[in-house]
């Protein structure tokens, strides 16, 4: 009954989409949240069942063929769902956090009209359904359904307020950029089918495991690179990360669910799903690691200077995703997924917290016009603080464990440079997150030049903290942000503490084969436990260092920050302009394409060639008919005559041939 997991949200979507306009807000909210809640319950049940199935060839999995989908010649793709440890983690994250965010949204979207409200929740449910298909799919095509579906939903939700041009544009941008990635994904898929004649993950893994590792650039590398292109699109990595910051135009809960917790991690998940494949293409892994690392650093630096609270969080998401890819790149698949899972908690928490702030300030998103909210929004403040600490990597919170594992694996796998960059990024992370915290919650309220004194929320007394629905979500996520990490306590602290690695390990190996990637990492970690402790210290230092810097510049003497900005005004503007990547893309890609399309494709091919052909045909036919119509006397008898003449001739032919 796995299919119920995606089916329930889908049902919610159908209900809200069809008769949403007639439903009252509580009704449609109940439908949506209920659907997600049930789905979550069912996922838990499924995972529980998974824990009790006997492993087959070292892999625990529940397979379920829903129906035979595509059958054509050699191609036979059942619509098959599969839960294995990896998928288990994902469905729990998606449905669990999804439920909380649905709940949060019920309050957050209160201002919308009934119809809009229902539309919002129908999209949200649809997204959940597709996301679940994505993670449960047992073969590339099934996953691709989800892959495209979530893309669509993200487009719909980013452009939810489509009357606002910026939102509509952001939606389009996200969609188009994703198309580039999907293109790579499809090519990769085709290449795989051409090579292995199967698209089932396990089938591919089994065949790949038989091959030797590909030391030179070859087929596997090509395939994996193509797939990785898809991943960069979905998961906002260089070069395709540009859509994510703009995606913040969507409602904040959407940013939390889609653009922090779930969809953007699809790329990471996909690589984890094909761990064996990527494991056999070291070059690709290096590329992945480097790109991940660069993305992390770049996004971190941009995040330092952004003023829009959500954008800061967006860049931090990009940077954290970079971390995950780094982990994948150095072969620490479990670590990457672990970070994915902790990140889902605290990043969702942070987004929802920022949402609460924006909600309280009636749509104000600019950090420069916040401040001093600590006392007015205590609950938001405390939960936000927890989230910030978690992401900053302060020990004993979830972020620490996962980030630390990644760093350790990076170091132990010998990528020292990457490790260094990662540490710096960790420092940056702590810095910009605390900058955000200070600007938003400490000091004095700074009014936006726009509003006068009568502006809503101008008097702190008026500000209302998160309403219950939002509060519940925040608290639960906060607890999660603290505790989520304890499934993966490093072995050096508590031997055998890293249960999640052990749990996930089978998913990254070919069925039947011994977990080689993990084994390598394990033993590396084993006889370097000393260094690992050291590394842990370093990352802790980085975290606190970052906090310190932030405290110095934005708490102790804010003028210093401005001074710094003036000193390095060039750098500052570069960062503020996000390295002008958008402008570069526009100049290098968009404009040329536009020009070509206009001149060549439209004027030349379409208007000239195609239309010309069509019209030409029309003209020829017309000319001939003008001649031939003479034959058509309109006299019934004449027609009958010609008819019978034909009969007689044919009959005669058969008689006297």
């Amino acid at each position: 009954m796995l299919f119920l997991i995606p089916l329930l949200p889908l049902a919610g979507f159908v209900v809200n989409a069809t008769l949403g306009r007639r439903l009252s807000k509580p009704a449609s909210a109940a439908v949506a949240v209920g659907a997600m809640g049930l789905s979550f319950g069912w996922s838990v049940a499924a995972v529980w069942r998974l824990l009790h199935v006997t492993p087959v060839g070292g892999v625990r999995a529940i397979n379920e063929v829903v129906y035979s989908w595509l059958v054509s010649g050699r191609l036979n793709i059942p619509f098959e769902l599969r839960v294995d440890p990896l998928a288990a983690v994902m469905i729990l994250v998606v449905t669990g956090i999804g439920t909380l965010i649905h709940l949060y949204s019920t309050a957050y979207m209160q201002e919308e009209t009934d119809g809009e409200y229902a539309r919002y929740f129908s999209y949200l449910n649809l997204f959940a359904a597709f996301m679940l298909v994505l993670v449960l799919g047992a073969s590339f095509p099934v996953m691709f359904i989800g892959w495209e579906g979530v893309g669509l939903c993200s487009y719909l939700l980013i452009g939810f307020w489509f009357t606002k041009p910026s939102a509509a544009d952001a939606g389009k941008k996200a969609f188009i950029v994703n198309r580039v990635g999907d293109f790579g994904f499809i090519l990769g898929m085709l290449a795989i089918f051409a090579t292995f004649h199967t698209l089932d993950f396990q089938g591919v893994a089994a065949q790949v495991a038989a091959l030797p590792k590909e030391e030179t650039f070859g087929l596997l590398t090509g395939i994996t690179l193509l797939l990785f292109l898809g991943a960069t699109g979905k998961s906002a990595q260089i070069p395709l990360y540009v859509w994510l910051p703009d995606a913040m135009e969507g409602p904040t809960p959407v940013s939390a669910l889609i653009h922090a917790a779930t969809m953007v991690t699809a790329g990471v998940y996909m690589i984890g799903r094909n761990a064996v494949l990527f494991g056999h293409a070291p070059h690709t892994l290096d590329v992945v690691a480097v790109i991940g690392c660069l993305t992390a650093l770049m996004a971190g630096t941009i995040g330092l200077v952004q003023n829009d609270i959500k954008r800061v969080l967006a860049y931090s998401t990009v940077s954290q995703l970079g971390y995950m890819f780094l982990a994948m790149g150095v072969g620490a698949f479990a670590g990457g997924i672990f970070h994915l899972y902790t990140h889902a908690f605290f990043k969702a928490l942070l987004f929802l917290g920022s949402g609460a702030v924006i909600h309280a300030l009636h749509g104000e998103q600019d950090l420069r016009y916040m401040g001093g909210l600590k006392h007015e929004l205590p609950l938001t403040y405390w939960t936000f603080l927890i989230g910030t600490l978690a992401i900053a990597g302060v020990p004993l919170l979830s972020g620490f464990f996962s980030k630390d594992e990644i760093l350790a694996k990076t170091y132990s796998s010998g990528h020292t440079v990457l490790w260094f960059v990662a540490v710096v990024t960790a420092l940056l992370t702590a810095t910009y997150m605390f900058r955000l915290l200070y600007l938003a919650f400490f000091g004095e309220r700074r009014q936006a030049p726009g509003h006068g004194a009568q502006a809503p929320g101008s008097h702190g007394a008026h500000l209302h903290d998160a309403p219950p629905a939002m509060a519940i979500a925040l608290v639960v996520l906060a607890i999660g942000a603290v505790l989520a990490g304890y499934v993966g306590v490093p072995d050096v602290l508590v031997s055998g503490g890293n249960r999640i690695d052990a749990f996930l390990a089978p998913s990254f190996t070919a069925p039947g084969a011994a977990p080689q990637v993990e084994a390598a990492a394990e033993e590396a970690g084993a006889h370097e436990s000393g260094t690992e402790l050291g590394l842990m210290g370093v990352s802790t230092l980085a975290a606190f260092g970052g906090i310190g810097i932030a405290t110095y510049f934005f708490r102790r003497k804010p003028e210093a920050a401005d001074a710094l900005a003036d000193r390095f005004s060039g750098l500052y503007r570069l960062l503020l302009g996000k390295y002008y990547v958008d402008e570069i893309y526009d100049a290098v890609l968009v404009q040329p394409i536009k020009r070509i399309s206009t001149l060549l494709l439209w004027r030349g091919v379409d208007a000239g060639l195609i239309d010309g052909t069509v019209n030409g045909v029309g003209l020829v036919v017309r000319g001939w008919s003008a001649v031939l119509r003479r034959l058509q006397t309109g006299s019934m008898r004449a027609y009958a005559m010609s008819f019978f003449l034909g009969v007689i001739v044919i009959l005669g032919y058969y008689l006297w041939r």
Binding site: R629, Q632, T633, G634, S635, M636, R637, A640, M641, F644
Partner: protein, 105 residues
């Protein structure tokens, strides 16, 4: 009583051929839409006769089933045809097919 030859398959076929020809002639000779439709019915019946005769010859029932279908189609044809005739007659007080030669281009 053997002063008459036993009917063979051919005799039936010849009969239906004759009927068919008569129908054909009717289509050309008559100047009345209704009679022309009737001639077409004659032709259809000639064909039916062939079917049944051959059916008998082969000892099958498929021919009879086809006859059944032919009749159904004939019914449909008659209904629509006559409806058209009525419409035409309303439009111009004659049933002569040669009066309706403008139905072209």
């Amino acid at each position: 009583m053997n002063f008459l030859p036993e009917p063979t398959l051919n005799s039936y076929l010849v009969l239906s051929a004759v009927l068919f020809a008569i129908g054909t002639a009717g289509v050309f000779l008559r100047r009345n839409l209704i009679t022309i439709l009737l001639s077409i019915e004659v032709m259809l019946n000639a064909v039916n006769l062939t079917f049944v005769a051959v059916d008998r010859y082969l000892g099958a029932v498929d021919g009879q089933i086809i006859v059944f279908f032919v009749m159904t189609v004939a019914a449909a044809e008659a209904a629509t045809g006559l409806a058209i005739v009525i419409a035409l007659f309303r439009h111009r007080e004659t049933l002569n097919p040669d009066a309706y030669t403008t139905l072209k281009w």
